[in-house]
Subunit: 222 residues, 2 copies
């Protein structure tokens, strides 16, 4: 990825986890619950068909008002606080696809936690490795924002040390390491029950910094 | 990951994309549609709350009969054909979380295609990089199965060359490269509009082969 590409992508960069109404977050939680139920239910096909018809009617109601482009909130807010992350596929409480991962900052390092359910299963009883790489791709990028050096991912290296169990409290860590010329390097890990199961290193192309922009908002610290 | 761990995880290894009833696949498609609608809808909060209540009632109906452990089909079928993949979070047509990615084999190489929607958005208008790493983690593993050398992922390296657009027909390729001692190496890529946007290399710990096991079933070729 070139610096120009990174700059274009990072134009509205920043983290605003706030946003999205409680109603929208509850909607996402309901769809997340349906996702898990779909991969675990044993109800008969007739019941599945009835429910499917109901869900399609629900989608039709939501689809009467669909945005054409990416939803990124109003321009003023983006300028002030960065892109809203509530639809983010890893962190977004308003995105049913996100587990979601909850994140905060301690001493400039990103800490996170999540519980991964059966919808993300790889080997029986364990989280799909690719889902862990997805989570780390996101939190490594956050670590750069926490250090105020935004970048777009160029390279991601993941090492799977042990299987990571489903339905277990996972501890996620990501830290910015260094700026090396045009690039940024960050490292991260995921642990379950005190055992590190996955480590990651990311290389990012630096995005030119917007003057006066804060890349993290307060809602992110705790 | 040790050879013992890999062997334990890979005990039922194999690819059976068949399985799951049409009713279950339609159910998953309906939940997938709801996921996209959730991240794009602009309907008001009152409507969201009404729909959320309906979805929770639907979940309750599905949850009256939920399996305790991983659903892997009956033991005989697993022994004969390998694990059913219809709940797989990348490939599974019965998993609302999966885009899904459709795969087939040409000359021993895994080919795949998918279209990624707004639920998986990273930078505005583009697929979240971690979602691409998730897809490649899966298809690199399939490439080993297609070559009849099953393994569990030890390491995954991803290079992001260019942004990958949403709602675009993506071409996925993965090929087994070599067995190196206890490990297996595979490579893969994703392209959009004829341009390679992501490349990947995976290192896998070999799983001891089950005698007489076919790791791919015919439904996979086309």
């Amino acid at each position: 990825m070139t610096t120009d590409e990174a700059a274009a992508l990072g134009a509205g960069f920043g983290v605003d986890l706030d946003g999205g109404t409680p109603a929208l977050r509850q909607m996402a939680a309901a769809v997340r619950r349906l996702t898990r139920a779909t991969v675990r239910t044993g109800v008969d096909d007739a019941t599945l068909r009835e429910i499917t018809a109901e869900l399609d009617r629900a989608s039709e109601r939501l689809e009467v008002d669909m945005r054409d482009g990416p939803f990124r909130g109003d321009a003023e807010r983006v300028k002030e606080r960065g892109l809203p992350f509530h639809y983010n596929p890893v962190l977004g409480q308003a995105n049913p696809y996100a587990p979601p991962v909850e994140v905060w900052v301690v001493d400039g390092e990103v800490h996170g936690t999540t519980v991964i359910n059966e919808a993300y299963e790889g080997p029986p009883g364990y989280v799909h490795g690719g889902v862990l790489s997805l989570i780390l791709d996101q939190t490594l990028g956050l670590a750069n924002l926490a250090a105020d050096v935004p970048g777009m991912t160029l390279g991601l290296s993941i090492r799977y040390l042990h299987p990571t169990p489903l339905n277990t409290h996972l501890e996620i860590r990501s830290a910015h390491e260094a700026v090396e010329g045009k690039n940024i390097r960050s490292v991260g890990s995921i642990a379950a029950d005190g055992v590190t199961t996955v480590t990651a290193e990311g290389i990012f192309r630096a995005v030119p910094r917007a003057k006066g922009r804060r890349y993290f908002n307060n809602h992110f610290d705790r």
